[in-house]
Symmetry: C2
Subunit: 329 residues, 2 copies
């Protein structure tokens, strides 16, 4: 293990920047980079801090490199857009292992290539603490972006996939690291992967935009209860969710039991699933399902938009308000 | 003194985001912000770390807020562009004084307004160390951006203003803080201001773009010797600089003597002056000076581009190579 050198870092970053995406006028190496493409730009940025947003004890560097990019790509997906360019700013402790950084950059490079996006700039500085800031640039489809504020009374509420996996995966990793108490972690690999290596739902978001039936959308980063409340607040409506309709992974019940937690806790309140949460135009449920089937995508209806405000969960025992009960970063 | 709360921070940032710049389709509060304007975008980002890039012992928070934005605006100036939008990402220690943050944001707001730019997003996270990342979005003039790689043999070399002030100002502040040895710091206020509160040369850069006589440009952030070498490397040429032509502030000689340093050291090797360094088409010196005079701008010719490579300083005692002798961040 040896700490990083400025020279090898710059070489490595230049390698990650390789490629010449159409629309990139000037890449790294001038005062600014310059991009040019007709239409508007979607921009999202996230800052991740060591031991707060990730834990290097169990997060392999290559997967963290992937995830740092993925969480920003997910914001582009949540607007129904396509990502093109990425900025990466790193604040690196001087004693950070050089090989760790190489693997981190390799992971970032890998996911950039998978989504046909290119690193075009950033900054690298020394600091006491590892801080990663990623900024992504994408563009909406011709039909425009999908915002959070378009939901209307009577619209149906949907999610793109299972919820609670990433939250359970994180707690399993923490418990395993702390107590080595968990036998058969491999049974929970899907949950653990959901935390370590989330995949942004880019193609899914593009399909939703193309359907022209989606009225509001965001990605689930803070948990269903909180992110649903964001859509409701922005759209000035309320939501009613059916507890029994919310999809979860088949390994979640056993994991929840092992962790002495309820399934409900994970699916409603744990963050970082990066699935898409969206509303579909009133009375378009069947047409929408047909459209998604043609696209080869599955979608899960979990509730309805209603008048008023707040997010309410329908259970066997009645109605319960759950607004903003999600994960706080 | 009391540490900051999430709520008041969000309120303050929302206040700084106020305004509705033409071209801003979607501001803060969705998964992405969205901007739309015809033409290409210039993008620059800088990360500043506490005690490395700034020192809170002598840097007032409002001026640091201004400077964090200014150094990025300067990169847009160095392309001959106009800035429009800004992202601000803050990593804040939990015990940081809330009033310090307010003043920092006030300073950032002030300079954003001065340059008719708008904060459109960012991120705020907790961390052990104060880290500030600013990203600026601007656009080139119709005549296009000015890059570093356009200098040709015979082009003249110019700077927009005095050099060495910011470096001397920083050392004066450090010496004053450490030893309280300096009487009459007010004599050096211009140097100190150059460090604490640099002004990006936006209008100057726009004038240069409009002149259509400028072949290469960058801003002086790492010192003349290093930044000139960047232009030379990008343009595959060499440079000859006349030591006696390099402009400096009238307070610099006394400051250099007080600090037991040479004037040359400051004007060649100290960073952060954020003046523009540029080359003008061969045999256009007089026409260029006339143009700048009409614009009410002063410009200082300091040398000529020549064949070969490297940056050379002409002094009374001959020629000396100074390539890359600048400040390393």
């Amino acid at each position: 293990m040896s700490s990083w050198s400025e020279r090898s870092l710059i070489e490595n970053i230049s390698r990650v920047c390789s490629g010449s995406h159409k629309g990139l006028v000037k890449g790294i190496g001038d005062d600014c980079c310059e991009i040019s493409k007709q239409g508007s730009w979607l921009i999202s940025t996230d800052t991740l801090v060591d031991s707060i947003h990730f834990d290097r004890r169990w997060h392999p560097p290559a997967l963290l490199g992937r995830k740092s990019v993925a969480v920003n790509l997910s914001d582009i997906a949540a607007m129904g857009g396509r990502p093109y360019f990425v900025l990466l700013s790193l604040c690196l402790p001087v004693d950070l292992d050089g090989e760790w950084i190489n693997q981190f950059l390799d992971g970032a490079h890998e996911i950039l290539q998978e989504f046909d996006t290119q690193l075009i700039g950033g900054d690298t500085v020394k600091g006491k603490e590892l801080v990663i800031t990623v900024t992504v640039f994408g563009q909406p489809q011709q039909c425009g972006s999908i915002y959070r504020n378009g939901a209307s009374i009577g619209d149906s509420i949907w999610v793109s996939g299972v919820l609670g996996s990433a939250g359970a995966g994180l707690e399993l990793l923490a418990a395993e690291t702390k107590e080595r108490m968990l036998d058969g972690m491999s049974r929970y690999q899907a949950l653990i992967n959901a935390h370590l290596n989330p995949l942004p739902r880019i193609e899914y978001g593009l399909d939703l935009a193309q359907s022209k039936m989606v009225t509001a959308m965001q990605d689930i980063s803070d948990g269903l209860a909180t992110d649903m409340a964001h859509i409701c607040n922005a759209s000035r409506v309320g939501a009613s969710l059916e507890k029994n309709q919310i999809p979860f992974h088949s390994a979640l019940p056993a994991a929840a039991m092992l962790l002495n937690r309820s399934i409900e806790d994970f699916i409603l309140r744990s963050g970082e699933d990066y699935e898409l949460l969206f509303t579909v135009k009133k009375e378009c449920e069947k047409e929408f399902l047909r459209f998604m089937e043609e696209k080869g995508q599955t979608a899960h209806q979990i509730g309805m938009i209603r008048a008023g405000e707040g997010v309410f969960l329908q259970t066997e025992s009645g109605e319960e308000e759950i607004s903003f009960q999600g994960y706080e970063h």
